[in-house]
């Protein structure tokens, strides 16, 4: 009895020290890291293949070039567009604010295929030129083309991050600068660029992680990047662990960069204690050049790929446009919503756990948990699957105990693992967004709650949750967009019978039937447009209250 009493007391103390919500956070964090650690461990297996140094150097060189140029151009586009929209007033401002984020709805590979079609012989652009008597076509299937495609499809990450940041945190800086009569060049270079460091880094991290993990675009364009090396070792030399090793190296590099950056940023604080007020927009007197810049960006990044897809789709639309398409669309919305919900929920409890922690452990492991975004999706899918193969083998006695006969791979073939793989892959998107949301909230609010004798769990529901709700919704939409476009994990882990939009896009592009694929791509983009519009609408509303 006494012992029992003691242990209850210990449990009670533990519960007091580590609230349930924290324990869930820790468990979720560790669970998310396991597949990544699994992947890192596999990298130490002996492998026999060695790619020649010459090849490796070429891969690394090309990837670095792409990172630098795409980083610069996506950063430039995202930052300037967001800056102008945040602080200046001009015709169609609200329209552009929303539509400039739309390219996020287009999967890079689809954009790559559409664009090369558009520019090549017999394509729409040369034909347009032809009406002016110019016979010229463009072959963009090379590294320049790849850089172009990544820039136009990925810049919205920077754009969205900058937009929300400028709105809520930098108004006072800009007003002060205006009072001091800074001209627009000075304002942008001396205030805008330094201020934008946080959203720039957040946005560019996603851009770069997505870039290095992508294989579709560079393979189609014949560019030899780091992921070419990963695939080559695996597909051509049949050395799976060699491929994992290369990914692990890449992962370590990205991890180091992200870690060092956050270390350098550790003293910066961005929350404002005063109620943030909306800034007065300055009316641009001669908005012609501005409008040209905005319209051109919109046409190049969004309208052109869309036109090409619609054009392709015309030829197959009778074949595909039927009730089945609707069913597949609903299925996709359904599983994508659930997966996004789970992903955001897990990221939220993890972010809540990490928030108050000063120690290195929580910080390191939470960064590690976001690394799935920099690994090719197919490898994330496989490592999640293999991790759960092992878990299943451990759990066999339990399965027999609860009456599941014969079957061993219970968890690993379940919907749970299907959903969980998305969490591992897209943690960076939801966690980083939620974490950034936390940084904007004045921590005194949590302290006040503690002073009022609220437990951590109570605080979580009464303070964190309502304050973070807009951020959570935003994360939900961002993750929704990612899962909507995701292919390898979906193919690998989805239940048989679940037919998805990306599945059909894959089927038809694999067979080089682009007309058919275009229809499914267009539905993905349409759903994406709805999602992005919702994202931007939430941005419109004023939701951060401190």
């Amino acid at each position: 009895m006494r012992l029992d009493g003691n242990s209850t007391q210990v449990l009670f103390l533990l519960m007091k020290k580590y609230s349930i919500i924290h324990i869930i956070g820790i468990v979720a964090l560790i669970l998310t890291c396991i597949p990544i650690i699994y992947l890192l461990l596999q990298a130490f297996r002996p492998t026999e293949t060695v790619l020649s140094n010459q090849l490796l150097i070429a891969y690394i060189r090309n990837t670095i070039i792409m990172i630098l140029v795409v980083g610069f151009s996506a950063g430039f586009l995202g930052l300037t567009l967001a800056w102008i929209i945040s602080f200046y007033d001009f015709p169609f401002r609200r329209f552009f604010k929303v539509v400039l984020a739309l390219p996020l709805a287009i999967p890079p590979y689809i954009a790559a295929v559409s664009y090369s079609d558009f520019m090549y012989v017999n394509g729409l652009f040369p034909r347009l030129l032809g009406t002016f008597g110019i016979t010229k076509h463009f072959d963009i299937m090379n590294i320049h083309g790849a850089i172009f495609i990544y820039s136009i499809t990925l810049y919205p990450y920077v754009y969205i991050a900058c937009l929300s940041f400028f709105k809520y945190t930098s108004a006072s800086f800009v007003e002060n600068a205006r009072v001091l009569k800074a001209n627009w060049v000075k304002l942008f270079s001396k205030v805008g660029v330094p201020l934008a460091r946080l959203p720039l880094v957040a946005g560019l991290t996603l851009v770069i992680m997505e870039l290095v993990s992508d294989f579709g675009v560079i393979d189609y364009y014949g560019v030899q990047g780091f992921s070419t090396g990963i695939y080559k070792i695996w597909h051509n030399y049949s050395d799976f662990y060699g491929a994992i090793r290369l990914s692990a190296i890449l992962l370590c590099i990205i991890f180091a960069v992200v870690y060092i950056e956050s270390f350098l940023r550790r003293r910066l604080r961005y929350f404002t204690t005063s109620k943030s007020k909306s800034i007065k927009l300055i009316r641009v007197k001669n908005a012609r050049y501005l409008l040209i810049y905005f319209t051109l960006t919109l046409i190049i990044t969004f309208i052109i790929p869309l036109i090409q897809l619609v054009y392709n789709g015309i030829y197959a639309y009778e074949k595909i446009w039927n009730i089945k398409l609707l069913q597949v669309t609903l299925n996709t919305v359904y599983y994508t919503s659930i997966a996004s919900f789970i992903c955001v929920g897990i990221s939220f409890v993890i972010a809540n756990y990490v928030k108050g922690k000063k120690g290195i452990f929580a910080k390191t492991i939470s960064k590690l948990a976001t690394m799935g975004y920099s690994i090719p999706g197919v490898l994330v899918g496989l490592s999640v699957m293999f991790t759960f193969f092992d878990v299943d083998k451990l759990l066999v006695p339990l399965y027999r105990f609860i009456g599941i006969k014969q079957k061993v791979l219970v968890l690993s073939t379940s919907v749970f693992v299907f959903m969980f793989a998305y969490v591992v892959r897209f943690m960076a998107v939801s966690f980083n967004n939620i974490n950034a949301g936390y940084k904007k909230i004045n921590p005194n609010l949590f302290r006040a709650s503690a002073t009022l004798k609220q437990s951590t769990s109570q605080t979580f529901w009464r303070v964190d949750f309502p304050l973070m709700l807009p951020t959570l919704l935003m994360s939900f939409l961002l993750v929704f967009l990612e899962i909507l476009k995701e292919l390898p994990i979906t193919l690998m882990l989805k239940p048989y019978k679940l037919e998805t939009l990306t599945g059909f896009v894959h089927t038809y592009t694999h067979n080089e039937q682009y007309s058919e694929a275009s229809i499914y791509s267009l539905v993905i983009i349409l759903l994406g447009i709805i999602t992005v519009s919702l994202i931007m609408l939430f941005r419109e509303k004023k939701y951060v209250k401190s």
Binding site: S116, M141, V223, H235, M492, N511, S515
Partner: protein
């Protein structure tokens, strides 16, 4: 803000609600996993495939109609599927592995993932050269890797063999897709068998130096490049030509109308062919059904479908090709090598391609 939130969540609920109902319906008709293994195990066969054709699905539907057996298809990248099969081992719910390259089939065999098929029907449907020596897999369809030439710039009399493409006269005139693609790997792998390692290396070196541009794009893009006069010659798979001719897009029809088709090495070693084929996995829990599916897919009925709808050559010699295009190409001499060699030589082929700079 609150209103917006409300509308959004209502919409979401509505959407998920509808979808949920639908999936609930489909799951209701589906047996639960535990039931599957116990009672209705003979009603299905699980097929892991890297092929993604509508025509394949049509065949599976026909199979279900005929036998009542459902083909559960899991699509994916061939390598990813193989890793899963290997790691999952005996516990995996997978009966067949079906892929579009003999090299990959040979690799699966080498890894010990297959068991013997043991079907006399398959043996009588498929000639020996298109089956594995140990009866571990069988080919089901065939495609040839052929030369496509510009009708405007090339006199077909100039064409003879693959080997000739390394000749200097073709400098800057040839296009093909990257070496990352298995069709090119298997082409080189077959040459190692036919001409030996050193000669193949020399040939690959010559071929690469004749490239009109860095390898990129897919097979259709190579045809388009020839049509656009960017090159005179492309090495592509035969069935894409059929697909382009019957394409809905006028651009593709226009492009393919500007090129001619040539089956190389007719006087010498024969045109390189590769197959799609399947084997029964060791983990199979529905072997009988798996055998039935292979017997069906190699039958005259199914083989006709492959050729008429997907422009692939049948492997069953009893099939009369009715497809006009395939008929117009006529009979041709095929590379007579054992296709398992493609798997064995794959790595060497890759090394050669890396060495000579075939990107």
């Amino acid at each position: 803000m609150k209103k917006l939130l409300l509308i959004f969540s209502a919409a979401l609920l509505l959407i998920t609600g509808c979808a949920k109902k639908e999936t609930a319906d489909t799951t209701a008709t589906e047996p639960t996993p535990t039931e599957t293994t116990v009672s209705s195990g003979d009603q299905k066969v699980v097929l892991y495939t890297s092929r993604h054709y509508d025509t394949d699905q049509a065949l599976f539907d026909a199979f279900k109609e005929k036998t009542g057996i459902t083909v559960e298809v899991k699509q994916g990248d061939a390598k990813a599927l193989l890793e899963e099969i290997e790691q999952g081992g005996e516990d995996l719910d997978a009966d067949l592995f079906y892929t579009a390259d003999a090299g990959k089939l040979a690799q699966a065999k080498e890894k010990g993932l297959f068991q013997t098929i043991g079907s006399d029907v398959v043996k009588s449907n498929v000639p020996e050269i298109y089956r594995d020596n140990d009866d571990m897999w069988t080919a089901l369809t065939m495609r040839a890797r052929i030369i496509v030439y510009s009708l405007e710039n090339v006199d077909p009399a100039q064409l003879s063999t693959y080997e000739d493409l390394a000749n200097e006269k073709w400098k800057g005139k040839i296009v093909t897709r990257p070496s990352s693609h298995v069709y090119n790997q298997s082409l080189v792998a077959s040459f190692i068998e036919v001409n030996g390692l050193e000669e193949t290396k020399e040939w690959a070196k010559g071929l690469v130096s004749n490239f009109a541009r860095e390898p990129k794009g897919n097979d259709r893009d190579q045809v388009k490049a020839v049509a656009a006069n960017e090159a005179d010659i492309a090495i592509v798979n035969s069935y894409y030509i059929g697909k382009m001719i019957t394409s809905d897009k006028p651009e593709e029809k226009e492009a393919v109308a500007k090129v001619g088709v040539f089956f190389p090495n007719q006087e010498t070693t024969g045109t390189h062919v590769n197959v799609s084929g399947a084997g029964i996995l060791k983990s199979s829990k529905n072997k009988e059904n798996a055998v039935k599916l292979l017997e069906f897919l190699s039958s005259v009925e199914a083989q006709e479908q492959f050729s008429s709808a997907n422009f692939e050559f049948p492997v069953n010699p009893n099939v009369e090709v009715k497809n006009e295009l395939l008929k117009s190409w006529g009979e041709f001499k095929k590379q007579g090598i054992n296709l398992s060699i493609l798997g064995e030589n794959n790595k060497k082929a890759q090394e050669i391609m890396d060495e000579v700079g075939w990107k």
